[in-house]
Amino acid sequence: MAGSTLSLRYAKALLDIGVEKKIQDQIGRELDRVDAVFTSAPELTELFRNPKFDVTQRKAVLAELLKRVMVSPVTRNFLFLITEKGRMGYLKDIVAAFHTLADASSGRIRAQVTVASPLTEPELARLRTVLGKLTGLQVVIESREDPNLIGGVVTRIGGKVYDGSVRAQLDNLQARLRQSNP
């Protein structure tokens, strides 16, 4: 709870600056790219969490990283700030909070779509449209694959889950079979 409050506070401060400079969408994309780098390199995350490395060393590593991942000065300054404050470990939460706040401020909503097999562009467009009708908001789809679903689609949006996966059907069938044999 403390972590989420802290992440929300940092995200709101960054969004306020982004809105003021009208670059909130750009900041969002930049944050996603940086977050992807950290997600793909767990040792990098470890470096920013391990107290063996001081702030100067962390800043040096971040500077090297930002030479490869081009970001705006606002995002750059923000990343150095949270490095200095020792909050880089909350980056993923901050990014998520930033997107939630940015979406809310611009009438958008994010949908986490999990699929066993990637959806085609027409399918994604159709999904975006139908979710837009259901929520009354502009839908941003974040798609990921999970072979465990076997087949079908699971969408999480605005606290709701629309589960059309084969895994869910099998789980339901298994539950019914177990219930019939108390």
């Binding site: 097999s117 259901l134 076997i150 689609v153 084969v166 069938l173 298994q174 079979l177």
Partner: protein
């Protein structure tokens, strides 16, 4: 009783008096006896006896009467004691006779109680055995039910696992498109 003790003293004094009179008379006449001494002594003896009899008759009679009364009383007491002993003897004999009956009755009562206790213990043991049997049956039934449920759950899990394996093997790209289409169709129905 005091009179009995006084009588000898009176007799002694009288006898002494008569003797002194006789001696005085004898001494005064120079050995010439005016009374025959034998007669005098006889009279003296008679007088003595008379006095003795006179004074001792009443006490003797009373003593004899008291003795007779005491003897009578003792005889009565002995009779009472005898009657009492006889009654007690009869009582003991009756009790002795009744004791056997009481012992027989007690034995019979103990036998009856023993039979009743035996019957109660047998009934209790049978009830316990029946309860244990029912409990064992209930436990066995529960265990069978649980085992059946476990088995059926296992069969269901295995069936689901087999279904998943087959679906994974058979599911191709067209099936994924069909599933996505059905999913979108259902969402559109909601919208």
């Amino acid at each position: 009783m005091r009179r009995i003790f006084k009588a000898p003293a009176v007799v002694a004094l009288t006898s002494l008096f008569l003797s002194s009179v006789a001696a005085a008379e004898g001494g005064g006449h120079g050995g010439e006896a005016s009374f025959n001494p034998v007669i005098f002594q006889g009279l003296n003896l008679a007088l003595l006896l008379g006095i003795i009899i006179y004074y001792s008759k009443a006490p003797m009679r009373r003593a004899l009467q008291d003795r007779a009364a005491q003897v009578t009383k003792d005889i009565d007491e002995a009779g009472r004691l005898h009657a009492e002993a006889t009654a007690r003897l009869n009582d003991y004999e009756q009790k002795l006779a009744g004791l056997q009956a009481a012992a027989d009755e007690l034995l019979a009562e103990m036998k009856r109680e023993g039979e009743a206790e035996k019957a109660r213990l047998i009934a209790e043991a049978e009830a316990d055995a029946e309860r244990i049997r029912r409990e064992a049956e209930r436990l066995a039934e529960n265990e069978i039910t649980r085992a059946r449920a476990r088995l059926e759950t296992e069969i269901a899990d295995q069936a689901i696992a087999a279904a998943e394996r087959i679906i994974r093997e058979k599911l191709g790209a067209p099936d994924h498109r069909r599933l996505a289409g059905e999913y979108l169709g259902k969402l559109e129905e909601r919208a």
